[in-house]
Symmetry: C2
Subunit: 170 residues, 2 copies
DNA sequence: TTGATTAGTGAGCAG
DNA sequence: CTGCTCACTAATCAA
């Protein structure tokens, strides 16, 4: 279908309009109105061709022609503007989803680390308990050696010292 | 400034148009075109008034009047549509930022937990080392008691068993 | 029929 | 002057 300007074609697919092709009055070439989707190469070519034809043609154009040209360009600008809008919206949604995935991943990591931490804490406390019984029980030979080992442990563990630090048995 | 319809006013602030007020031909009341911002109460009132006046007035309206009414309504719909668009965009940006904050928070938690885990691991290994020396060294009285304590430790720690399980000394 | 959405249009701003 | 964006309109979709 062509409109009153006779240079626009609408393509439809299963009842929905997909895109439009424009046969430009200025440069004569067919272009999709989606200038956002053009390659930079194509944009440059088009600009070049416009400049050339302006140089060849009569320098004076009627006011009607100028107005028509402006209108046609505006039509393209409006289309670009709309495409930009939806593109930006899609980009926002993409970024949002990406962040959501990152949140999920971090949350999973977090949960598994918390489990690991709890397990290790339990393991540590049990071992601590065991160590206490062992050092309290026999206390026969190496009392001096025992205390020295405890000192080494404390230096490895400056931060986050638990309140239940086991002291050397009396 | 009034347009050709004579019932629109544009307010500007530092050169930018902020909003418009509409004196409705149908119901006669002034309304902001921003229907999204209206309270439900206000919307209902307006709808009511329209219905009432339609009932009071002559039932036949000229085609021009009908067309005009449709045009005015369309103007409002278009405004709502634009407002909805920017509102949705702002909402997307808000959600994006919220997710970003969540990512940051989780990442911080993650990092601190990783530190804690490493510290605890070191602490555990040192204690394990100590326990080994103690159990290997004296081994005088309670050999049976020692093994039984080790069994208890293992049952506390079913999952995530480290390869360096210390066995009872021979 | 009503409300929402789209493409095209002119006004007007910004660079 | 060019490109972009806004408000508006008619056409059309959808419920």
């Amino acid at each position: 279908m062509f409109n009153e300007d006779g240079n626009f074609t609408s393509f439809t697919h299963s009842g929905r309009r997909i895109f439009r092709v424009h046969k430009c009055d200025v440069c004569g070439i067919l272009t999709s109105l989606c200038m956002q989707g053009m390659t930079t190469q194509f944009k440059a070519n088009k600009a070049l061709k416009v400049k050339k034809e302006v140089g060849e043609n009569a320098p004076t154009l009627s006011d009607d022609e100028l107005q028509r040209r402006r209108t046609l360009k505006n039509r393209g600008y409006a289309a670009s503007c709309r495409i930009k809008r939806v593109t930006q919206k899609e980009e926002l949604e993409r970024q949002k989803q990406e962040l959501q995935h990152e949140v999920d991943k971090l949350a999973r990591e977090n949960a598994s680390m918390r489990l690991e931490l709890d397990a290790l804490r339990a393991k540590y406390e049990a071992l601590q308990c065991f160590a206490r019984t062992v050092t309290r029980g026999p206390l026969s030979t190496g009392k001096v050696a025992t205390t020295s080992v405890i000192t080494i442990i404390k230096s490895t563990n400056n931060r986050n010292s638990s309140p239940t630090s086991f002291s050397a048995p009396s």
